[in-house]
Amino acid sequence: MSTTTESPTRRPATHPGERIAEWTDGRLGLYKLAKSNMRKIFPDHWSFMLGEVCLYSFTILILTGVYLTLFFHPSMNEVVYHGPYVPLQGVRMSDAYASTLHISFEVRGGLLIRQIHHWSALIFIAGMIVHMMRVFFTGGFRKPRELNWLFGWSLLFIGMFEGFTGYSLPDDLLSGTGIRFMEGAILSTPIVGTYLSFFLFGGQFPGHDFVPRFYSVHILLLPGIMAGLVAAHLILIFYHKHTQFPGAGKSEKNVVGTPLLPVYMAKAGGFFFIVFGVISAIAAVATINPIWTMGPYRPDQVSTGAQPDWYMGFSEGLIRVMPGWEIRAWGHTLVLGVFVPLMIFPLVMAAIAAYPFIESWLTHDKREHHILDRPRNRPVRTGFGVAWLTVYFTLLIGGGNDIIATHFHLSINAITWFVRVGFFVLPVAAYYATKRICLGLQRRDRDKVLHGRETGIIKRLPHGEFIEVHEPLSQQQLHVLTAHAQPRPIELGPAVDENGVARRSSPVAKIQAKMSEGFYGEGSNIPKPTAEEYEEITSGHGHH
């Protein structure tokens, strides 16, 4: 070997792109990375693009957000407005509000970027919730993807605060009202509430500090954390390979679809432009957050019909319908009326985060799962999901009780009471209804497998009898309807051991067995048809 370490038989790079790739490979091991990823297989299903919507709207948020920082002044210094928007000329306002007016009325394209930014934020969080629902209902969170569930969950949790800090920055009358609400909520925290509030606002509300503080949180701290989480989320998707729905040729050990290069590069890359294009069109025709109509924030002024951005609607609902309980004793006040709603929010979020671990605990299931569930085959989980959504939408009604009252000419007191009762009753009703529907669908699947599909063709037999022709399912359909496993509930074992001595089960084990019975017991699943049943019916007396 002479001065070079390259193998003599190696074909020289000819294309300039190839030379760049060679150069990079020699330093970063690019080809080893490409080996497992360039032709990565992605299964195709419309619901798999929900996560893409989130990724792209997040990207759009970063792009437009950087633009907005070029013009926005995160300052609460008072200025008197002399800009082109006539109704506010001569009005005292913060520099933050004035610079937002400047972006909207004097920077060409500024209003468009502001509106794209805000619309993207709404779509980002909506996308995350719908994507999370897809993963939840299909069991995509099961091993080995529990950590990715937590990454996604963290993105949703942080995303809501990111949105809140963002729309609070213009310091307009509406957002200031939201900040005031937040301050009141923080004050309700026992023992440390007033201290938290004074440290957050740099003194009494509203002070001169919250806009610059929210600004650094909104443009640096939270997006930085989120970008890291997004990267980790994507790396894990690549590492685990995407889940797939049951179907012919698909198994737990394979992934069936089309390759990243070229199909998904083109489809996913193109979809980024589609999302961006659609949001641009929305921003062109639909005004969002017209801060100029609200005026600058003053703590003694408010507009009617004040509503937060939609994703804060459930917390608005909680705070509106909670009775105003206060416990006063020994010179202190425990503000349950505000603190309880404040705590329900993180508790509900924590329950969502913990769900994958609870479910695997109830099955003793340590296997990897790559084939998604059809929601009907997990009636309890599906019931929980719908119950959660019911709570969420009930609280959205509570959050918009004034708007609903004025639009539909209803009593606001009646709506509030409906939400108060509905918060407890509706999710339970929704759970049982959903579970029942799932069991019905399972029965139908069973019926289809054993007796075939109803064709709607009525045949008259020679002796005058009418029958409906049932068409047997294809092998593929049979497989899809029977591919799922039906877990057995965990059993405690016999009450006495082999020596006749009473066995003691720990209370935790008893709870586990009880819950497992609820999830997978007889009342929660229709036994899927067995091969014997199928053989007996199909071979026994011919097809109907």
Binding site: A248, N254, V285, H332, S474
Partner: protein
Amino acid sequence: MSESGSHNDVSENLPGEHGARGSEPAVKSDPFANPGLPPHEYRRQDIDERSAKHSERIVAGLYTLSMLGTIAFIACFVIFDIDKYVYIFPFGHVSALNFSLGLTLSVALLGIGVGSVHWARTLMSDEEIVDERHRADADDELRENIRQQWITGAKESGFGRRRLIRSTLYGALALVPLSSIVILRDLGPLPRNSLAHTLWSKGKVLINSNTNMPLRPEDVAVGSLTFGQPQGLSEADEDFQDQIAKSAVMIVRLKPEDIQDKREADWGHEGIVVFSKICTHVGCPISLYEQQTHHVLCPCHQSTFDLSDGARVIFGPAGHPLPQLRIGVNADGNLVALGDFSSPVGPAYWERP
């Protein structure tokens, strides 16, 4: 379980075999066995070059449309003044610049997006490929290997044996974050009792917030609602926002016989009563007054207070009545406060008695 089937019904003018897709036949005894991947179905574009050309033209057309969109975007940026408003059905009066920039940008982006997706769907191979999955966890051999490495490393560090080092390291690591907490101390002053006091004090004249003039009893008509603030507070003050957040009041006049609460009547003047404007729920300013019932409603969360009965909460999430300001009339005939509020204004908090 079979992972895939095979297909051999490709007719002659189709592209050649793409290799067998697994060879295991479906197990006959299991009627629900996985039948394996169905044979690939070719699209029109795969077998008909004219059809493929047609798709190519559509994709190229969409990309061209995108270029035109960008050019139009630049043209609109130059042409339209930022203060030009036009009527466009059904959107109403819209900013010409915002409307045109948004739509041209949308065309430029959608051209690329729709074109690329169409390209992928019609011209790129849509044959499904099977890839294997691999378990995330290590096999037993690697597991044992890593365990040994860990044990060796831990042994070499002496971490387990030298307990003094271990304990002091834990102590140091536990203490070091304290400095990052202490350094945040100056984020704000301590609350002390600043939430319990406002600018109101004995003799402060009530100023009408709209006219900036002192209020006289005869200015306040029965059934009216007036917003007020303490004398000496000016919008130009450095701490105006902080002060108005606590000292904003609403002044109403009821018929004295309508006032049900004796203390309320005593603290008023000829039926004029003054209450804090700041809701006791989470601090929104209350602005909706129903003069027939003497109810005020907070527009944020709909707490409703009865101003004829000590501002008692009659509906909604607020936990206690609005604090009342005791008033009288001074020598000039103006309404004045006779002290601070009866209790802290605004939302409740832990230290609130």
